[in-house]
């Protein structure tokens, strides 16, 4: 008995030794066209990650941020934007933006102290905007110094709901249009010269994405909320708005219970793509919503189909993210503009965003 006791104590001492750290991995994507995939990970798991895919060699490298920098990306990476060979990764629930060299994934700096950041839009070389789900303001920063330089208040005190949240951004002349998704029905218009909220456009309930086509028409997709939603529940819609007059020119409605999201444009900016379990495509000139999906998801009976969508603005190739059960490595499929499958590869958990790198 005594011996057993001593053996157990010694074994404990040995087992408590810690493991050696993993070596840094260096990357060089200089000159390669490619796409960064933003894997959101799970809320409060801190397991978001970045993947890099090279369509020429069909090679994917996962966890590029952690491999290069030795630290995790953070909790729920929402989006990434590339500007001037820098990648700005918005880490939503960590309240920060990590900036990396887009050719080497090396950490360059961060912007911290944010509330619930969502997307970045570069106005010029001294000015960029960060939208936010909760802050009720847009944060202005200098993309060359990573310093915050101001903010644009977008609070709506007349509503019983916490308005306005801000999401995706598009620019027309000196105006940035952003959609207010959460418990809201507005597209906000920001003057980029004065950094002021100058107007808003009332659309349908819960606009989740927007794009601007070659004819300067803004297209807005709304999801209509959910059953029991205190803000309301209605049929989702797709709206066409003239950027100059800010008038709604056309409105298409989906059936109640459908959940369209991720509105995108092709390279020519004349065809619209969106997800509604499958990938759907319609010409900007079409008079009605498409009846047949463009690319069919095989997993709609269990997990609700595709999760994310992006189109390469240089060649119209289609990238579709499939998060499967949102708890395992997701799958990205790359299709030719014709809809033909070109490649598929495994990435991180919940692939939700894409950032194209051209040089």
């Amino acid at each position: 008995m005594k011996k057993l006791f001593y053996i157990l104590i010694c074994a404990l001492g040995l087992l408590s030794c810690s493991e050696s750290p993993v070596d840094t991995v260096f990357f060089d994507f200089t000159g390669n066209r490619g796409v960064y995939i933003v894997n959101q990970g799970n809320f409060m798991y801190g397991n978001s990650s970045l993947s890099f895919y090279d369509p020429a060699t069909k090679k994917v490298v996962n966890h590029v941020f952690q491999a290069r920098n030795g630290a995790p990306l953070g909790d729920v990476a929402q989006s990434m934007s590339i500007w001037n060979n820098l990648g700005f990764v918005v880490v939503n629930n960590s309240g920060k933006i990590y900036i990396i060299d887009s050719s080497t994934a090396e950490y360059k700096g961060s912007i911290t102290g944010l509330s619930s950041p969502r997307y970045i839009h570069f106005v010029n070389s001294q000015k960029a905007y960060i939208t936010d789900l909760y802050a009720r303001k847009i944060t202005i920063f200098d993309p060359s110094t990573f310093r915050k330089t101001g903010e644009i208040p977008v609070s709506n005190s007349t509503s019983e709901f916490n308005q306005h949240s801000t999401e995706k951004m598009i620019q027309y002349k000196n105006q940035v249009f952003t959609n207010s998704w959460s418990y809201d029905n507005k597209i906000l218009v920001i003057d980029t010269n004065t950094d002021q909220l100058i107007d808003s456009i009332e659309v349908l309930k819960q606009p989740n994405s927007l794009v601007i086509d070659k004819d300067n028409k803004i297209w807005v997709l709304t999801d209509g909320g959910f059953e029991g939603n205190p803000y309301g529940y209605e049929r989702p819609g797709l709206l066409k708005i003239d950027a100059e007059t800010r008038e709604i020119e056309r409105s298409f409605r989906f059936a109640l219970g459908e959940h369209p999201l991720s509105l995108c444009l092709n390279a020519g900016k004349d065809s619209l793509f969106f997800l509604n379990r499958h990938v759907w495509k319609m010409a900007a000139s079409d008079k009605k919503l498409p009846e047949q999906p463009f690319i069919i998801s095989a997993n709609t009976n269990l997990y609700g189909g595709f999760y994310s969508l992006a189109i390469d603005p240089s060649n119209s190739e289609i990238y579709v993210g499939d998060a499967i059960d949102h708890a395992q490595n997701g799958l990205v499929r790359r299709y030719a503009p014709s809809g033909k499958l070109l490649d598929e590869f495994k990435v991180g958990i919940s692939p939700g965003g894409f950032a194209f790198k051209f040089q």
Binding site: M1, K2, L4, F5, L8, I9, L12, G13, L15, S16, V22, Y45, G46, N47, S49, N62, H63, A67, G70, A71, P72, G74, D75, N93, S94, G95, K96, Y107, S110, G113, L114, S115, Y134, A135, R136, K137, N162, N208, D223, F226, N229, P230, Y231, G257, H259, L261, N276, R277, A298, N299, T300, L302, Y303, G304, A323, D325, H326, A327, Q328, N329
Partner: protein
């Protein structure tokens, strides 16, 4: 430094006051000697099991362990001394159980016979149960739990209070000072005689919880201090017992409250966030028993009120994300009749009625629900000794809730002793069990699914138990193998409709199988040194057994956050009035993705051993006992994570003083 001195000073003053108080009471009692002492017949205690226990897989926690962990919570007790895995979000934070690799809602908790699981979430937060409030804790593994109630697909935890009829007057005061500005105080007051007993316990536990850690979750990495993790917990337990001839009556009241700040993940660098959780519980039980030679009638009525407020806001933006207030009320009425016509036969009938009401509303999200649920459960059980060495039990429950009838939930158990002294035996248990969905699963907005079916489980256990003694050494052990197949396992999954929110579904068929080994031994070494060793190990493989689309790689893989291996080791050496205790819990690797993928950067939670050490001394002086001990937690300063990217403290210390007076 000044703060430490102040704390020490306060502690000394309090200790002196406590001693003076005790002396005063002693003198006072000497003056008014009790005269109504009733002499109680001594009851011999045999190693033999009662007939009701034969064939069941039950583990009782040693009262010495309860005494040793008096300043801890049940989550720490289960984690360190039982095969139950506790998923804890950190020191003082929410802790849920996984029993035999099942979900938190598959562990049912009963306090003196009343179920305490939240009707809303289905689970129990074990960090809200101080060990100080319990006198007896046992586990019913797998199908053996049907004796107490249905729904425990993993097993049940039974916590009980009981009177000490020999107590005339006792007072016990415990104070513990711990690292990270943690102060714990406990007071127990007992008065009574052979017919009446009253026991009052109060406690307070508060901590800044601001431990240092190295933050490798951000860039640049740096030394950090845990922020927003403070907690304050306090509670009262009042018990009253009386007995007269064959009747006995008891009343118990449990009031508890906890205020906790919830810390952010290591990677958080956002604006100032306030995230808090407040829990309040009020529980009461009235119990009446009539015990005759061959029968026992018992009636229990109980209520369990809980309130939970969860709040989260971005302070700078003045934006409230969540302000959720939930109120749960449960009323229990249970009638039990136990009949033992012969020493070898026992029958038991029990009818339980439970009415739950739940009201949840989030003032920020403006969503919520109000629901209620009425459930009936009828138990019929029979235990037989077919031969002096062979016992058998059969029980079945019939349950009805919300108009749904589940007519037959059976369990069959048998035990065969391999020798006449009942030192070693083989046990077998086969059962069906089911677990009804929590009200959140049914009605949460958005994503609750009113069409959910109950989870349906089939399980079997086979165990071999052994007890032995040789000279001054004694040994006991049990090896158990178990398997259960749970159909309609409820999971929250991305909505099949393609919506952005998740939905509750009966998606999976889960196979949980494994083994439990429990070993304990005691050795009386010469020179008055007593060595004891207790250890257990459990292996639980829990995997998704259902067919799913080809891209889904989760089939057959271990469910996330459930370790396959868990072990713990406890060793104690006693010499005269000194003692040394070592406790070493081990937690195996846990996956955090459903396909169990791991690479250098894919985050798998690494296995870890913790080593905790206690040294102490007991002093006895007439009717007064004192015990002082120093405790070192995480002696090896192990860097580990219990949950992804949540820091855990390194080595830390506590000093505990207990003074007890008993007449």
């Amino acid at each position: 430094m000044n703060q430490n001195r102040r704390t020490l000073w306060k502690f000394l003053v309090k200790s002196i006051c406590a001693i003076l108080f005790l002396l005063l009471i002693t003198l006072n009692l000497e003056a008014q000697k009790l005269t109504d002492t009733i002499s109680i017949e001594e009851v011999p205690v045999f190693g033999r099991k009662t007939i009701q226990e034969a064939g069941t897989m039950t583990t009782r926690i040693d009262t010495l362990v309860l005494q040793m962990l008096k300043t801890q919570t049940i989550s720490e007790l289960l984690s360190s001394y039982t095969p139950v895995f506790i998923k804890s979000y950190g020191r003082g934070s929410t802790a849920t159980a996984s029993f035999r690799g099942t979900a938190p809602s598959h562990t049912q908790v009963y306090w003196n016979g009343m179920k305490l699981n939240s009707p809303m979430r289905g689970d129990v937060d074990f960090s809200l149960f101080p060990v100080y409030f319990i006198d007896d804790l046992s586990l019913q593994h797998g199908g053996s739990s049907l004796q107490s109630g249905s729904g425990a697909l993993g097993g049940s935890v039974l916590i009980n209070n009981k009177p000490d009829w020999t107590d005339r007057f006792s007072i016990r005061y415990v104070q513990s000072l711990e690292s990270f500005s943690t102060h714990k105080e406990y007071l127990n007051l007992g008065v009574g005689n052979g017919r009446f007993q009253s026991k009052t316990r109060i406690f307070s536990d508060r901590s800044q919880n601001d431990f240092q850690y190295f933050n490798y979750g951000v860039l640049p990495m740096h030394e950090d201090v845990q922020k927003n993790a403070q907690y304050r917990k306090s509670g009262l337990l009042q018990e009253v017992y009386s007995r007269f001839k064959d009747q006995s009556f008891s009343a118990k009241l449990w009031a508890y409250q906890s205020d906790r700040d919830l810390p952010q993940l290591m990677s958080f660098e956002g604006d100032v966030r306030k995230e808090t959780q407040k829990d309040q519980n009020l529980r009461a039980i009235l119990n009446w028993k009539n015990i005759k030679e061959k029968s026992k009638v018992e009636w229990l009525i109980g209520l369990n009120f809980s309130r939970l407020n969860y709040f989260r806001s971005s302070t700078e933006a003045n934006f409230v994300n969540f302000d959720s207030q939930s109120k749960e009320r449960s009323f229990t009425n249970q009638f039990n009749y136990d009949w033992t016509p012969k020493e070898t036969i026992n029958f038991n009938w029990s009818l339980n009625t439970t009415y739950n009401t739940v009201s949840v509303f989030d003032y920020a999200q403006k969503t919520g629900y109000d629901q209620n649920q009425l459930a009936f459960s009828l138990l019929n059980s029979a235990h037989f000794m077919l031969l002096p060495q062979w016992a058998m039990s059969f029980l079945f429950r019939s349950e009805m809730y919300d108009g749904r009838l589940i007519g037959f939930i059976p369990s069959f158990g048998t035990e065969y002793w391999l020798n006449k002294k009942q030192l070693s035996s083989i046990k077998l248990n086969l059962s069906r069990n089911y677990h009804q969905p929590g009200l959140n699963d049914l009605f949460w907005l958005p994503g609750g699914n009113p069409d959910l079916k109950p989870e349906d489980g089939l399980s079997g256990d086979l165990a071999f138990a052994y007890k032995g003694q040789e000279g001054s050494a004694s040994f006991s052990g049990q090896l158990t193998g178990f398997a259960s197949l749970i159909d309609n396992w409820i999971v929250w999954q991305p909505s099949a409709s393609g919506a952005y929110y998740w939905e509750a579904t009966n998606l999976r068929k889960v196979l949980a199988r494994g083994a439990e080994i429990q070993v304990s031994g005691q050795l009386n070494v010469a020179n008055g040194v007593l060595l004891s060793l207790r250890s257990n190990y459990s292996y639980s493989a829990t995997s998704n057994a259902d067919a799913v689309p080809s891209v889904d790689e989760s089939r057959g893989k271990q469910l996330i956050y459930i370790p396959k291996h868990k072990a713990n080791l406890f060793a104690e050496a006693d010499f005269k009035n000194y003692y040394l205790k070592i406790n070493a819990p081990f937690t195996g690797k846990r996956y955090t993705s459903s396909n169990n993928f791991e690479s250098d950067f894919e985050k798998v939670l690494n296995p870890y051993w913790l080593l905790n050490l206690t040294v102490g001394k007991k002093v006895e002086w007439n009717c007064t006992q004192a015990d002082i001990c120093l405790n070192v937690e995480n002696l090896t300063n192990e860097d580990y994570m219990a949950i992804l990217w949540r820091p855990m403290p390194g080595r830390y210390y506590s000093l505990t003083v207990q003074i007890q007076f008993r007449k």
